[in-house]
């Protein structure tokens, strides 16, 4: 995985900056361009860090209110999770509330949401996070041991397609609706 220099881990300056990144530019000066207008970035870069540091502390959770933050700023520029989560994989929070202190706002929101079991798709939809970003954030949480993931059952020999037992259960479930 190619992680831009300075783009990871969480909690560094770059992450703290992003809630106030109102220019719709990526805020990592050290990794040129995951924005779509790289040629326009240089003039802005010197001005940003100071503004962001000034207001970073009280702005936790601000990202969700600011549609101008590029979604992949939340992931430190990563566009693929460490392992591939199915869109229908189920996520369920195992962390104690005290463990959520100090986590990124997006991570906390996912943990709060998944106290009741939710799919990756639902996390994306209910928190208005693009699907790819939700996958990465959930994978982070799983790696940190804060959520449990139930990947859908499947028959490896059949390309991950559901096995006969599962199909029978689905069929009987549908008939009983």
């Amino acid at each position: 995985m190619a992680t831009p220099p300075g783009g990871y881990p969480y909690g560094n300056d770059q992450q703290a900056q992003q809630p106030l990144n109102r220019y719709n530019f990526p805020s990592s000066p050290s990794s040129p361009g995951y924005g779509s207008m790289p040629e326009q970035r240089p003039p802005h870069v010197p001005a940003q860090p100071q503004q962001h540091r000034r207001a970073a502390a009280p702005s936790g959770g601000g990202a969700r209110n600011n549609p101008l933050v590029r979604p992949y700023a939340m992931t430190g520029g990563r566009t693929r999770p460490r392992y591939q989560l199915a869109i229908e994989a189920l996520v369920h929070t195992t962390a104690q509330p005290s463990q959520l202190q100090g986590q990124l706002p997006e991570h906390q929101r996912i943990c709060h949401l998944c106290t009741e079991i939710k799919s990756v798709a639902e996390i994306s939809a209910l928190l208005s996070i693009p699907l790819g970003v939700a996958r990465i954030l959930v994978a982070d949480l799983a790696e940190a041991g804060l959520v449990a993931i139930h990947q859908p059952g499947g028959d490896a020999s059949a390309g991950g397609q559901p096995d006969v037992t599962l199909l029978e259960r689905v069929l009987s479930g549908l008939r009983n609706l």
Binding site: M1, A2, T3, P4, S31, P32, G33, Y34, S36, P38, P71, Y72, G77, R78, T79, R80, A86, I87, E88, L90, I117, S119, A121, E122, S124, A125, L126, P130, L131, G132, V133, A134, P152, G154, A158, G159, G160, Q161, P162, D163, V164, L167, E168, R169, V170, L171, G173, L174, R175, N176, L177
Partner: protein
């Protein structure tokens, strides 16, 4: 998966049988993003948002069925590839007044080997063509079921899903 042309009733279908109002998830894509982690050298890429509606049916204490309406535009095949993995099968909704709209979906599922059923969505209750006429027009083999449905009604959509799972089961048992 619930597939079919634009405006054929995919989200209506999902909503009729889902226990939650259909939710919408979005994927932000760039034209050059496939297989690329670090976009620092990508110039002039275009960004597209692909929306996908889905619903959920809890079948059992520990069994949840998700219904995904495929993104309408055929060019978002990458989303379909994502969905096909682990999917039971697909309901291809067809508006017989615009038969050609379902061709890409039918081709896709035939190629991917995912079991599918063709469901003729009767707009205003009309079913101007019989399933066999449609089978001939679509050049579909005898295996894939062709049924009529009304995407607005829970019983009809439920019955379409049952037909699909039965078909998928038969395909696995062969």
């Amino acid at each position: 998966m619930v597939a079919g042309g634009f405006g054929v009733g995919k989200t209506t279908f999902v909503g009729a049988v889902s226990e939650i109002s259909p939710l919408r998830t979005e994927a932000v894509m760039t034209s050059a993003s496939a297989g690329i982690d670090d976009l620092s050298h990508v110039q002039g890429k275009t960004t597209t948002t692909v929306a996908m509606d889905f619903g959920r049916i809890t079948l059992d204490d520990d069994l949840i069925l998700y219904l995904f309406g495929t993104p309408g535009q055929d060019r978002f095949w990458f989303m379909w590839d994502d969905l096909v993995r682990g999917a039971i099968g697909a309901v291809v909704l067809v508006d017989t007044r615009r038969l050609a709209d379902c061709f890409p979906a039918v081709d896709y599922f035939e190629n991917s080997g995912l079991p599918f059923v063709i469901a003729l969505n009767g707009f205003d209750g009309h079913q101007p063509y019989t399933p066999e006429e449609v089978r001939e027009a679509l050049q579909i083999g005898p295996d894939a079921p062709i049924i009529t449905t009304d995407a607005r009604h829970r019983n009809e959509t439920k019955s379409a899903l049952i037909t699909l799972v039965e078909h998928a089961l038969m395909a696995r048992l062969k």
